[in-house]
């Protein structure tokens, strides 16, 4: 206990004695705290708190307890809850206090409520009326408290009830109320965006509020809105720039200064907004150059907070469309950060470097010595950030050094979170840049033994898939596998009890599959190793299953050993093991059966027999290092306008940059400092920063163009049923039996449904089985593959020959792309074709087709060049949606000026107002030269809504059976004759609703989410508004539909 507390506590009794009467009540708290601080063990504390709680329980239920005492009890309850004890019996009293008490009690009551209850707590409903009352109160403090509680905990369903009152507060004369109201509305926006959809105009008013405080609060909202859709708020750029200019220029009242910096937090917020707005938008960026320059110039005082502003400025400069002059200044700022003796600034400097290095690798080179010093820094956070930076600059040349550093760090690290995070990165780098097989296997061994069972499941999955699928040449694959086998046998010779389960599983799988490749090792030895593992107590039962499967695979011809083993396991308590032991015995006795079940050389088998372990299916096409950062930067600046901007960036940087790696080292050596102690560091520097010089910066900047990863994963089978048929390595393996895991067969299943009958037969030839570990394999026989390919060419894709389209629309094909839709899709209602992305060789556009049970997203891939483009493959991801089938996303060869069509059938299980999808298309213009082009787009719920055709009676029955309902008033379209009919028709057009009936001033409308949850809408004309009442079995659906109705009517 601290001295201060101790001293004061010893003085407490004297204090208590002198007080009597009312003061006694508050003494209860003091006594409680005093006795708690005197306790020595957790157990005593528990007992004491239990006593206290029961005393409190008695007190709260006693009718004689006054409000004041209740207030004091609440504070005690807060204290108990803070220590982690349950005082839930006081919750209701907290609410009562807020309901009935005077201002003082109310304040404690509200405070207790916001500490005790969460948004979903049912007791909160009891508070709604009180909040409503207090919001209307003329007492400022009451109104403030109500707004605070509304922003802290408020049930989502009750928002409509308080919304108008909170909205009114936006025009309250007191700025503190306006500010709190703005923040409360922001909170509403976060939990139920569609409910505040209609008050965006009011947000703008708040932004223009005469009080800078209110304006500051509104920036929270704008930051969020702009993050979601920057394009909709470009018009505000001018206003934000003006505001920032005024703030930077010191136009705000002096009250807003903090350490003589004008409104620093406001500046930070504005800079963030500006960088979002200016991202990839030259004209918008141009508006802000001046103010950014001004900010960089002004913020040169030596206080923490100015650095905070500078950091945001630098980030903004590197995010928006580049301007050489600013970049130079920003780079200098980063230099100041990195070199600062203040550790916080150093950290931020490293963070900035990590961010910037994606655009400008030379900056890292410039600070290489500092970076190396940071690697050995005593601060864990700094070290970690440095490794993050190194991760970004890794290339094939420096990968070994960087990974060694990372592994060193990992060995000394005991924070689970960090281990998981970093080990994944090591695995990713190793896979991408491994210089040779033995290094790769050794590194992966380290990854498995360090990461252990904390590892994310996709690390072992990826590794095993890589081993199993192999690359282009069988020889290399076998070599890799051999290395793995050798290395694991060495590991197993040593102590194995400390090895993580996940590593054991990987080892047993590899040994089971590939031990036979190593001819110099007796299979009996391998069996013995694995059997020894089985005997260890630390081995989990899941791992035992893996080991047994491996044994099953290599058991052939070793009947004696196996029979012993099977015998000893047949009495195991684990039924799965017992079953496997039985199978093992049968298989080892019947070699014919063994041959049939587990054909040598194609051992995709086994655990399906056990039926236990199937790796979860991860769609983890290894994330690119530069993920999320669109490659708009090149060596010479902004890529799209290479010619225009090239000299701007190059000149200033060339002046300060060493032209290459070697010169960099020389430069360091020529420094006045004694170089002897630095020699090690320099050596490290030259190995770490190799390949980062100007000459080779290209390869760093464009990771996609870096030397292809040593272990290139083959395209996943479901993505590419017809691809890679050209590779010689796979054709050898293609005689293997085919196997897919469940997800794959599901995908295929739905694919098959759409396939013409002939195609089904083609697929049916391939034997189906599930692999042990979810390694999706689709090695069709050659005949199958051919059948497959031709089928896909015939059925799935429409390859348009140059002649057909070039005649009509030579340069642009997008205008009539819908004509290319397969015949069976032509009749479906569809949206306009919009362009997704394009580059000089390929352009992608999309179109939505509304099928009853799914949304078909059709992507047109057009070759804009005069040459053939090969190996085009589209990948699309969307977290919120489910892809049930896809066709034609891989095209072997796209003729000049032709267009191929691929489509995804998407399902939406949980309604979201808007979902965005991202994807990439990769293609080869020349062999071995893969380009990737990212694209993204959004879909709205409206795309997934289908009319629900019911009669009025059915509607009535359904209505009564539905539970979740939402009511809201909407705008009524009054411009035409019958307002109700006009409005409903407008909604019907926008949302594909089914208007069931219109009776007088009421209308009933029905729709459903694809073929899933229905939603019923009841509309009634109420004066000039349309009272809408929605019901659905799905809690979120009415909100979504309401949102789109609102939009449809406002945009009408």
């Amino acid at each position: 206990m601290s001295d201060v507390v101790e001293k004061t506590l010893t003085a407490l009794p004297a204090l208590f004695d002198s007080q009597t009467g009312a003061a006694k009540i508050t003494n209860r708290l003091r006594q409680l705290i005093k006795s708690i601080t005197e306790l020595t063990s957790k157990h005593e504390e528990e007992n004491l708190i239990k006593q206290e709680l029961s005393a409190m329980k008695e007190q709260v239920s006693s009718p004689n307890t006054t409000m004041k005492q209740m207030r004091e009890i609440m504070v005690r309850a807060m204290y108990c809850e803070m220590l982690g004890y349950d005082a839930s019996f006081t919750y209701i009293h907290a609410i009562k206090l807020a309901q009935q008490g005077g201002v003082l009690e109310k304040r404690v009551g509200y405070l207790a409520v916001s500490l005790f209850l969460n948004e979903g707590h049912e007791l909160l409903l009891l508070l709604v009326n009180t909040v409503l009352k207090d919001l209307q109160s003329t007492n400022l403090i009451e109104a403030c408290m109500a707004l605070t509680v509304v922003a802290q905990v408020f049930p989502k369903d009750m928002i409509p009830a308080v919304l108008p009152l909170v909205e009114d507060k936006l025009s309250h004369p007191k700025e503190i109320i306006r500010r709190k109201a703005v923040l409360a509305l922001y909170k509403f926006y976060l939990i139920a965006p569609n409910q505040v959809q209609h008050i965006h105009a009011k947000f703008r008013k708040a932004l223009c509020d005469k009080d800078p405080g209110v304006m500051t609060s509104s920036l929270h909202i704008y930051l969020q809105l702009i993050r979601e859709s920057p394009d909709s708020y470009k018009d505000l750029t001018g206003s934000f720039v003006t505001i920032l200019k005024q703030v930077v220029g010191g136009k705000l009242p002096l009250d807003f200064n903090y350490h003589s910096v004008p409104a620093p937090w406001l500046q930070i917020q504005l800079l963030r907004i500006l960088s979002l707005l200016g991202k990839e938008d030259q004209s918008t960026s141009e508006l802000m150059y001046e103010v950014l320059d001004e900010s960089l110039r002004r913020a040169e005082m030596n206080h923490n907070i100015t650095y905070a502003i500078l950091y945001e400025c630098v980030k903004a400069v590197y995010t928006i469309h580049p301007k050489a002059e600013l970049l130079e200044k920003a780079a200098r700022c980063i230099g100041n950060f990195v070199l600062s003796p203040k550790i916080n600034l150093k950290y931020l400097g490293l963070k900035a470097l990590t961010y910037v290095v994606q655009h400008d690798a030379k900056l890292a080179l410039q600070h290489q010595m500092t970076i190396i010093e940071c690697l050995d820094h005593s601060d864990f956070t700094i070290k970690r950030e440095t490794l993050e930076l190194l991760f970004r600059i890794t290339n094939a040349q420096n990968v070994t050094v960087i990974i060694e550093k990372m592994l060193d760090f990992l060995r000394s690290c005991n924070d689970e979170h960090t281990i998981i995070h970093l080990v994944g990165k090591v695995a990713e780098l190793a896979e991408k840049f491994a210089p040779d097989n033995s290094w790769f296997i050794q590194t992966m061994n380290d990854v498995f033994s360090i990461g252990g069972d904390l590892l994310q499941q996709d690390v072992p999955n990826n590794f095993l898939r890589l081993l199993a699928e192999g690359s282009e040449s069988k020889e290399e694959d076998d070599q890799l596998r051999l290395y793995a086998v050798d290395s694991y046998l060495t590991v197993l010779k040593g102590h194995t009890s400390h090895l993580p389960q996940c590593f054991l599983q990987v080892m047993s799988w590899v040994l089971g599959e590939y031990a036979h490749l190593q001819e110099s090792v007796d299979q009996r030895e391998v069996i013995q190793f694995l059997t020894q593992l089985l005997d260890q107590r630390s081995v989990s039962s899941e791992t035992r299953v893996w080991i047994l499967s491996a044994l099953t695979k290599i058991s052939e011809g070793q009947t004696d050993l196996i029979l012993d083993l099977a015998e000893s396991l047949s009495s195991s308590q684990d039924t799965v093991l017992r079953q496997q032991a039985q199978e093992l015995r049968h298989l080892s006795q019947d070699s014919q059966l063994h041959e049939w079940a587990l054909p040598r050389g194609a051992p995709w088998d086994s655990i399906e027999v056990a039926g236990l372990i199937v790796f979860p299916y991860y769609d983890n096409s290894s994330t690119l290092i530069l993920e999320g950062v669109k490659r708009v930067w090149g060596k010479d600046g902004y890529l799209p306008q290479k010619e225009a901007t090239a000299p701007l960036v190059d000149e200033p940087s060339a002046a300060v940059q060493p032209p290459g790696q070697h010169e960099a080292a020389e430069r360091i050596e020529s420094r006045p400092e004694p170089s002897t102690q630095n020699q090690d560091k320099q050596q490290l520097a030259s190995s770490l920063f190799v390949g980062l010089g100007v000459g080779s910066s290209m390869s760093l900047l464009g990771k996609s163009e870096a030397p292809p990863p040593c272990f290139r994963k083959k395209p996943r089978p479901h993505e590419s049923p017809s691809s890679s048929s050209s590779s010689s390595g796979t054709s050898e393996r293609s005689s293997d039996s085919s196997s897919r895991n469940t997800t794959d067969s599901f995908l295929y299943g739905s694919l098959l449904e759409e396939e013409p009958a002939t195609a089904i037969s083609a697929f049916d030839h391939t034997p189906k089985s599930t692999t042990a570990n979810g390694l999706a394999q689709n090695k069709d026989t050659k005949e199958d593959r051919r059948a497959n390919t031709s089928q896909i060419l015939g059925g799935d894709m429409v390859i348009v020959r140059p002649s057909t389209i070039q005649d009509k629309h030579p340069p642009s094909v997008s205008s009539d792309l819908t004509a290319l839709l397969p015949a069976d899709l032509k009749d479906l209602p569809h949206s306009d074709v919009i362009s997704l992305t394009s580059d000089p060789s390929l352009s992608l556009s999309s179109c939505r087709l509304f099928r009853d049970e799914a949304l078909l997203l059709v992507i047109f891939i057009s070759n804009c060049t005069e040459t053939v483009i090969k190996d085009v493959s589209v990948q699309l991801t969307c977290e919120e949606l489910k892809t049930v089938s896809l066709r034609g996303n891989v095209v072997d060869c796209l003729e000049a000026r032709s267009t191929s069509v691929c489509h995804y059938a998407l399902l939406m299980d949980d309604p979201h107002t808007n979902v965005s999808f991202t994807g990439t298309v990769s293609y080869q213009t020349q062999p071995g030269h893969t380009n990737t082009l990212p694209f993204s787009g959004t879909l709205s719920t409206a795309d997934f809504i289908r009319p629900l055709v019911v009669t009025t009676e059915e509607y009535g029955k359904l209505w009564l059976s539905l539970s979740h309902d939402v009511k809201q008033n909407l705008k009524l379209l009054t411009d035409a004759g019958d307002p109700l009919r006009t409005t409903l028709n407008a909604l019907k057009d926008a949302l594909q609703l089914h208007v069931v009936d219109i009776i007088g001033s009421e209308g009933i409308v029905a729709c459903r989410l694809l073929s899933g949850a229905p939603c019923l809408l009841h509309c009634r004309v109420n004066g000039t508004a349309l009272a809408m009442w929605l019901r659905s079995p799905h809690p979120a659906l009415p909100d979504c539909i309401l949102y789109h109705c609102q939009r449809a009517l406002t945009h009408h």
Binding site: A23, G84, L104, K187, G213, H220, D255, N304, Y311, H417
Partner: protein
């Protein structure tokens, strides 16, 4: 957004905790323990930022903390907050506490948890920074304090003063009433006895 604000002492005893996102009670306690564990083993002169642990929400979240004498002030924030900005916000918070309590010490936080919460509520609302200007915060808190006095009258004054005044008044009250006994009926007389 700010996810949580925690204050604990050098021994890890929580002195105030405020969560702006919903966690179960057990998770909250675990977060406090884990955060203390992370923060307490750091030296004084290394940086004030830490990657959040697993509980508080993974790599997007950060712990930003300051250590004052016996207390740690920790803010858990997501990536949308500026690290240095929050660091100074902690400074503002502590300076405000210092002003409000006149030389704040750990005991003030223990005995006036509710007041600390009220001060915090003027700075951070629902996880968003509401006010960063110390004098403005103090004005708001004092406005509430005034309300306290004016509404509750004598009862709202500091406990010690109240008890002193009451103790003086108690014996006097009946006297006064006795004097006016002839004409004035005092209905609530029994309550004084």
């Amino acid at each position: 957004m700010i996810k949580a604000i925690l204050i604990f002492n050098n021994h890890g005893k929580p002195r105030m905790s405020k969560f702006y996102e919903h966690y179960t009670e057990d998770t909250e306690q675990q977060i406090i323990r884990e955060t203390f564990h992370l923060v307490s083993k750091r030296d004084e002169n290394i940086c004030n930022f830490l990657e959040g642990g697993l509980l508080i929400g993974g790599s997007d979240n950060k712990l930003i903390y300051r250590h004052y004498a016996t207390l740690y002030f920790v803010f858990c924030v997501d990536s949308s907050e500026s690290e240095l900005g929050i660091l100074d916000l902690i400074q503002v918070f502590v300076e405000t506490l210092d002003k409000c309590f006149e030389n704040v010490c750990e005991l003030d936080l223990i005995f006036h948890v509710d007041k600390v919460h009220n001060i915090l509520a003027e700075m951070v609302m629902g996880g968003m920074v509401l006010e960063t200007n110390m004098s403005e915060i103090i004005t708001q808190v004092e406005a509430q304090g005034k309300m306290e006095k004016s509404e509750a009258g004598i009862a709202g004054a500091p406990a010690r003063a109240v008890s002193a005044v009451k103790n003086m008044n108690l014996p006097e009250m009946p006297k006064n009433i006795n004097i006016g006994d002839i004409s004035i009926k005092v209905p609530n007389l029994p309550s004084f006895k």
